[in-house]
C-alpha cells in the first residue's frame, strides 16, 4: 500500500539514459508513429499517437536532465509530473499499447518509442496507476508463481494425462538435462498439446529435457506491468532453477513477451549474465532441423500463412526460423502482405489481454490483422504465441471468420516421421 507519486517520479528519473535523452531530443512531431500503430489506425483517435504516450518520461527528462529544462524548472516554467498526469496516462500506456514495436521501426529520426513506453510504465506503476487486471496478474505471479494462479499440482495433473495418453514421459527436475522448458500458464491450461508436442519432438531428436517444479512459469507479469524489480524476481526464479538443474539451455515456449523477458531483459534485470543459454522453442527446433534431427513426413496442402508474434519476431529476432520450419511441411504457404519484422500486431500483447476494460479496443485493433487475412484468403494461420492464439480465436469468431489458428510446434510434432 505504498505506491506514491514520489516513487513514480523516482522511477522515471532512473529510466533516463543517453538513449532516452537522444530520442526525446530528436522527436520532430511528424506523426509517422501514429500511422504505424494498430491502435491508432483502427480507431482514428489522435491521443493514441505513440510518442505522446511517453509524456511523463519526457517531462522528467526535460526538467531534470537538460540545462535549459532545469533553468525553466527553477523559473516555474517547466511542465511537471503530477499524479493527475500519471493517472491520465494509464490507459494510454497500458490499454492502448501492446509494446509491439512498429512505431520504433518507422520513426524517421530513429526513436525506439516502444522502449520509451516500456520505461514510462515503470513510473506509472510505481505511482499506483497500473491497471487492476495487470496488478492482479502480477500479484498472482509473485505469490503463486503464475499470473493465472496455476500451481504445481495443476501442472502435474496435465503431465499425468499426457503421459497416460501418449506413453511419453514429461520429465520433472532432471539434473543435467540439456534443455529446461518453461511454459506459459495459458499453454498449461488451454493448450497442453504443446507439452505433448515437445515430448514427441525431443524424443525423436534425441535431446534430453526437463521441466523444473520450482520454476516452470514462462510469462513475466513484471515485464507487462513494467516494474523491473518484480520482473527481476520472476527471472531469478528461473535462473535459480536452471543453475540448480545445471541445464545448458532454457527454452522459452510459444509465448511472446516471455522470450523478451527471459532472453533479452533477464540478465539486465538481475544484473549479471547467465551461465546458460536461452532460446525460443522455434530456434531449438530450427537447430534440430539444421542438424538433421527432425524428420517430417506428409505435407499440409491447405493454404496457410504465418503470424509473426511481435515479441518473438520484431522485438525478439526469431524471424527466419519459423519459416524454415513451415517450409518443411507446407505446400501452400503464403506470407501476409506485411510480415516478418514489419508484421502487424494482433492487438492483445503487452498486457492488453489482461485488462478487461480494454476488450473493445483490443477487438478494434484486430481489424488490421483481419484486413491482412482478407487480402490473402487462407485456410489456416500458423503462429507461435498463446496470447496471439487466444486473440485470433476470439476475434475471428467475433468477425465470423472461420479460420483455424494452429501452433507451429504442435504442427511439427504432428508431422514427425514415426520410425517404427
Amino acid at each position: 500500500m505504498s505506491a506514491s507519486l514520489e516513487k513514480g517520479i523516482q522511477a522515471l528519473k532512473e529510466q533516463v539514459d543517453s538513449s532516452v535523452a537522444s530520442f526525446f531530443s530528436s522527436c520532430v512531431h511528424c506523426g509517422m508513429c501514429a500511422d504505424a500503430c494498430v491502435f491508432y489506425t483502427e480507431t482514428g483517435k489522435p491521443e493514441l499517437t505513440p510518442i505522446t504516450k511517453t509524456e511523463p518520461l519526457r517531462r522528467i527528462w526535460f526538467s531534470e536532465y537538460t540545462l535549459i529544462g532545469r533553468l525553466m524548472k527553477t523559473l516555474g516554467l517547466a511542465k511537471r509530473v503530477d499524479d493527475q498526469l500519471l493517472s491520465d496516462w494509464e490507459t494510454l500506456v497500458y490499454d492502448s499499447c501492446s509494446m509491439c514495436g512498429r512505431c520504433s521501426m518507422v520513426c524517421p529520426v530513429g526513436n525506439d518509442i516502444t522502449e520509451m513506453i516500456r520505461r514510462t510504465r515503470e513510473g506509472i506503476a510505481a505511482a499506483g496507476h497500473a491497471p487492476e487486471g495487470l496488478i492482479g496478474a502480477t500479484q498472482r505471479s509473485v505469490t503463486i508463481g503464475s499470473p493465472m494462479g496455476v500451481r504445481l499440482p495443476a501442472l502435474q495433473a496435465q503431465i499425468k494425462h499426457i503421459e497416460k495418453d501418449t506413453g511419453m514421459s514429461v520429465p520433472l527436475d532432471v539434473e543435467g538435462a540439456e534443455y529446461m522448458l518453461l511454459l506459459s500458464s495459458m499453454e498449461i491450461m488451454n493448450f497442453p498439446e504443446f507439452i505433448e508436442a515437445i515430448a514427441k519432438i525431443f524424443d525423436k531428436a534425441g535431446a534430453t529435457w526437463t521441466i523444473s517444479s520450482e520454476a516452470f512459469e514462462a510469462t513475466n507479469a513484471g515485464i507487462q506491468i513494467g516494474v523491473s524489480d518484480i520482473a527481476a524476481t520472476l527471472v531469478q526464479r528461473v535462473v535459480d532453477a536452471a543453475e540448480k538443474l545445471k541445464v545448458k539451455t532454457v527454452i522459452s515456449p510459444e509465448c511472446g513477451h516471455a522470450y523478451m523477458a527471459i532472453r533479452w531483459e533477464g540478465p539486465n534485470l538481475i544484473g549479471k549474465p547467465y551461465n546458460f543459454k536461452v532460446r525460443h522453442i522455434l530456434e531449438v527446433l530450427d537447430d534440430f532441423r539444421e542438424q538433421g534431427r527432425l524428420t517430417l513426413t506428409g505435407k499440409e496442402s491447405q493454404r496457410l500463412t504465418y503470424h509473426d508474434p511481435c515479441q518473438i519476431a520484431r522485438r525478439g529476432g526469431v524471424i527466419d526460423e519459423p519459416r524454415n520450419l513451415i517450409n518443411m511441411f507446407a505446400e501452400n504457404f503464403v506470407e501476409m502482405p506485411e510480415n516478418g519484422k514489419m508484421n502487424w500486431c494482433c492487438g492483445a500483447g503487452g498486457g492488453v489481454a489482461s485488462i478487461e476494460r480494454a476488450e473493445d479496443l483490443k477487438l478494434a485493433a484486430f481489424k488490421h490483422k483481419k484486413s491482412q487475412l482478407d487480402a490473402i484468403h487462407v485456410e489456416a494461420i500458423v503462429s507461435a504465441c498463446s496470447t496471439c492464439r487466444m486473440q485470433f480465436e476470439e476475434s475471428l469468431e467475433e468477425y465470423h471468420m472461420d479460420i483455424p489458428i494452429i501452433s507451429l510446434t504442435e504442427t511439427i510434432a504432428e508431422h514427425i516421421a514415426e520410425d517404427k
Binding site: 500500500m1 505504498s2 505506491a3 506514491s4 516513487k7 523516482q10 522511477a11 528519473k13 532512473e14 533516463v16 539514459d17 531534470e64 536532465y65 540545462l67 506503476a125 510505481a126 499506483g128 497500473a130 496488478i135 502480477t138 500479484q139 509473485v142 505469490t143 506491468i225 516494474v227 524489480d229 518484480i230
Partner: protein, 366 residues
C-alpha cells in the same frame, strides 16, 4: 547691337555659342543628359530650350573636411568636354580650388553672392563637417558648421557632393576623431540632394545640375536622398560580369585564371550587390572603364559608412569579425560546460538509483 556679354548676364545658350559650341553638339549633350536621366526623347527640346534660356545661376561651393577628390573628378577631363563647359553655365561664385581670389577677397565674394542672389543660389558642399570640435576645420576663422548654417539660409537648394558631404565619408569612419557628420545632419529646412560617390561620377553631377536648370526643381530622390535616375540600381544588377556570378564563376585571387578571364569578383569582396550608383552603366573617364572592369571589386563608395562595412576584400556574405576564433573558444568552453552539466546529471541519476526502494507487489497500489 551687341549685348554686354559679360559673364554674369549671359544665358547658357549665349555662353555656349560664345565658346563655339555648335547647336548640334549642344543638342547631343541634351539628348545624352535626357537618356542618362531616363527621360523620354520628347523631353529633349524642353531641355534644350530651358538650358538655352537659363540664366546662369549663382553657385556657392563650400569645401569642408574633404580631399578635393570630388572637385578633381568633376574637373578632370582628357579633353575639353561638354561637362566642363557646363560649368560655364553656372556662375561659380565661390570655390576654394578653382577661384582666382584668396583670403579676404574670396570671403567677400561669397558674401556678395549670398546677398545678391538671396534665396536663389545653389549651395554645393563637399567634405564632412566636424562637430566634435568646430575648431578642427575652419575657413577664414569661421568653423565649418557656422559657415554651413549661415550660407544655407539663403540657398534655394543644397547639393551634397561626394560621400563625405552626403553621409560623413572617411572622416566619419571609425574611430571618427573629429565627430564628422553629413550636411543633412545639420541642415533640416532646405531641400538637399545627395550625390555620393568617392568621388561621384562627373556625369552624375552635371545631370543633376541640368535637371535643376531645366525644371527648376530637384529630381526624384531615393530614401537616402540620392537621385533615383543615377542611384536607383545596384552595380550588381547592371554589372557586365553578372553572368559569371549567376554561373558561379569567381576569381579567387587577383591574378588567377578567373581574374584573367574577367570572372565575378564577389569572392574578392565586391560590394556591387549592396551599392547603388551608375558606375556599371556610365562608367568613368568618359565611359572608359570602372573599377570592376579594371579588375578591382566595388568598394561600395556611394553607400553610407562604406569604410566600416567590414573590409573591402571580405565578401558581402562573410561575417566581418573573426568568427572562427570565437567559435573555437565557445566550443572549448561548452565542452567544459557539458562535462560539468553531465556530471550533475549523472549524480542526480546515481542519487535516484541509490534511493531506489524495491517495488514489490504491495507497492502497486496506493
Amino acid at each position: 547691337m551687341t549685348k554686354d556679354l559679360s559673364r554674369q548676364d549671359r544665358t547658357l545658350g549665349e555662353a555656349l555659342r560664345g565658346q563655339g559650341i555648335s547647336r548640334r553638339s549642344f543638342l547631343k549633350f541634351c539628348a545624352a543628359t535626357a537618356s542618362m536621366m531616363a527621360l523620354p526623347p520628347a523631353m529633349i527640346p524642353t531641355i534644350a530650350q530651358a538650358l538655352e534660356k537659363a540664366k546662369k545661376p549663382s553657385v556657392i561651393w563650400l569645401s569642408f573636411q574633404e580631399c578635393t577628390g570630388c572637385t578633381e573628378s568633376l574637373t578632370r577631363a582628357q579633353a575639353a568636354t561638354i561637362e566642363n563647359l557646363i560649368f560655364d553655365a553656372i556662375s561659380l561664385d565661390y570655390h576654394h580650388t578653382l577661384q582666382a581670389a584668396s583670403g579676404h577677397a574670396a570671403e567677400a565674394a561669397r558674401e556678395a553672392a549670398m546677398k545678391e542672389h538671396d534665396g536663389q543660389y545653389l549651395l554645393v558642399v563637399d567634405g564632412s563637417i566636424p562637430l566634435g570640435n568646430p575648431g578642427y576645420s575652419t575657413i577664414a576663422g569661421i568653423s565649418n558648421v557656422d559657415m554651413l548654417t549661415d550660407t544655407a539660409k539663403g540657398a534655394a537648394a543644397i547639393i551634397s557632393v561626394g560621400s563625405c558631404a552626403a553621409f560623413g565619408g572617411i572622416a566619419n569612419a571609425k574611430p571618427d576623431p573629429t565627430g564628422a557628420v553629413a550636411v543633412s545632419a545639420i541642415i533640416k529646412d532646405k531641400p538637399i540632394i545627395n550625390v555620393p560617390g568617392c568621388p561621384p561620377i562627373p556625369g552624375v553631377l552635371t545631370g543633376v545640375l541640368t535637371h535643376f536648370l531645366t525644371f527648376g526643381a530637384i529630381p526624384e530622390l531615393d530614401h537616402l536622398g540620392r537621385p533615383v535616375a543615377f542611384f536607383g540600381q545596384s552595380i550588381h544588377d547592371r554589372c557586365y560580369r553578372r553572368p559569371f556570378y549567376d554561373r558561379g564563376l569567381f576569381a579567387e585571387t587577383f591574378d588567377d585564371e578567373g581574374a584573367r578571364q574577367g570572372w565575378c569578383l564577389f569572392k574578392l569582396g565586391c560590394k556591387g550587390p549592396s551599392t547603388y550608383n551608375a558606375c556599371a552603366t556610365m562608367k568613368w573617364n568618359g565611359g572608359v572603364s570602372f573599377p570592376i572592369e579594371a579588375g578591382h571589386p566595388c568598394i561600395g563608395c556611394s553607400e553610407p559608412h562604406f569604410w566600416d562595412g567590414g573590409g573591402f576584400y571580405k565578401a558581402l556574405s562573410m561575417p566581418t569579425g573573426n568568427v572562427s576564433e570565437n567559435a573555437v573558444y565557445a566550443a572549448a568552453g561548452a565542452a567544459v560546460g557539458a562535462v560539468a552539466v553531465s556530471a550533475l546529471n549523472r549524480a542526480k541519476k546515481k542519487k535516484a538509483t541509490e534511493a531506489h526502494e524495491e517495488v514489490t507487489v504491495d507497492d502497486l497500489t496506493k
